[in-house]
Assembly symmetry: C2
Homo-oligomer: 290 residues x 2
């Protein structure tokens, strides 16, 4: 049985501090006119929880606040959200791996109060993705790599609830016999996966594309890069092309809950997988307790 | 008092036909894990209702089905959705102008059944927008005009719930002292408003950009174009540039509920408004009973 836990972050007035309310995740909790549902007008984070410990908690809170700013949402009270995440995580302490989603929307249309919630449940089993790896396709994201600077209203790099394109891209990958996607800018630079960060290994160097390209700063990638030197790698944020990905020693899509999934094929062509380093990375990620 | 009406389109099993269930719009009806709310993964239509008559009903149903196809959603049972729209519209027959929103999402994450609903309420007062007009800014949409052909996974031209960008663009317009937006492609062709279709008048000709540019086929624009000959205009679907917009005799952003709103300034520069033709257009739009 996959038990779910839910705390609502209730905003009861413009001047009143929000507070947490216990709720039943199996029952409806959202109005049909909440702009989370009608406009995808809000933000989220997804964290992994290992034996009750939320991982990369501060990095997720920081990014949640950053996304709120990009969407002109009221900045979240991070202390309250931290409390909510920790409380939901504690209820999942019996499980090796669980996940938590935090959501903040602009609220019900025509009303001035945001809607917030923290949801937690047991994670799916990602052993296959973490060991056998992923077949990816490279898909055009339609934007230039400078879109975040030139057109901030396109919200590139904000973690919004408007993820229909991310899901459509994965369906396109599946139609092509693959599992996941690496997005590319119209000027030929690799970006990120629909729900993950790209890491490429070439000789003694691991690389990831710059957040300035309008992509999410990866919390999992950041933790891995902090350990890279220990594993004998230089960690570099730099532009990457599809040719560089295809010629790499190894590559991964890394994310909070699935952790490090090695890339085993690109556009139908098998590429080398570094099984040993993948296991090291996932061991390190799983061992984090904050 | 703004009374709201709600019918849920309940999908109770893969083989069972969906059915309508009366619900209270003032109470929560959606699960927090519905992908409408967590991923913007669904579609919608917004119709106007005049004295209980839904306007452009068949055009909206056709576009709803088209969007479902573009998102690989189960195709909606249009007969049932038509029934639901008509039923909600009838409850709003005491009002000169009301509006209805239909929503179909992929449902609760991990469950195979879509979520649907039809919501109706009394319209806001749009007299000022319809008579005085709108100040617009031209904003880059970040996509090339051929994006719908080259990258269908970007869902350009589908009416999805992922509208965060549309709302961020309007906030950007407000920051610039304007009311609304005309999006432009990266190759310099005008597209549409965030929730409207662009119509430009030059001499004896009214024009609107082609849906092939990855924009929504406008139901209101289609009805206006069907009447254009009667008013002495040739109606043409053709590419338009920002220079052509600025040099036009008149321009409008047209949409289902706000109807025809004339453009009175572009990027801070006043442009001519055709008040007489605007009144004719809105009179025609308001008189529609189907």
């Amino acid at each position: 049985m996959n038990v779910a836990h839910l705390l609502l972050v209730v905003h009861s007035g413009a001047d009143a501090a929000p507070h947490l309310v216990e709720a039943d995740a199996e029952h409806p909790q959202l109005a049909v006119m909440d702009v989370a549902a009608t406009r995808g007008d809000g933000i989220f984070e997804t964290l992994s929880v290992v034996r009750g410990h939320p991982q990369a908690l501060e990095a997720h809170l920081t990014r949640f606040e950053r996304s709120a700013g990009m969407l002109d949402l009221p900045l979240p009270d991070l202390g309250l959200w931290r409390d909510a995440i920790v409380a939901v995580a504690e209820r999942l302490a019996d499980h090796d791996e669980a996940w938590i989603k935090t959501v903040l929307s602009r609220g019900v249309e025509g009303q001035p109060l945001p809607t917030g919630w923290v949801y937690g449940a047991v994670s799916p089993d990602f052993r296959r993705e973490r060991t056998e790896g992923l077949r990816v396709v490279v898909l055009d994201r339609g934007y230039r790599s400078d879109v975040a600077q030139s057109s901030p209203w396109l919200l590139a790099g904000a973690k919004t609830l408007s993820y229909a394109i991310n899901r459509a891209a994965v369906r396109e990958a599946q139609r092509r016999g693959a599992d996941d996607v690496v997005f590319m800018s119209t000027d030929g630079l690799l970006l990120e996966g629909p729900t993950s960060t790209l890491i490429v290994k070439r000789a003694g160097r691991v690389s990831t594309p710059p957040a300035e390209f309008g992509i999410l700063p990866g919390t999992t990638q950041a933790d891995l890069f902090s350990a890279a030197a220990e594993w004998g790698f230089e960690a570099v944020v730099e532009p990457l092309t599809a040719d560089e990905l295809r010629a790499a020693d190894a590559a991964w899509l890394v994310s909070s809950v699935r952790h490090a999934a090695p890339v085993r094929a690109i556009d139908g062509v098998a590429v080398p997988v570094d099984f040993a380093l993948t296991a090291t990375m996932n061991g390190f990620l799983n061992a984090r307790r904050s």
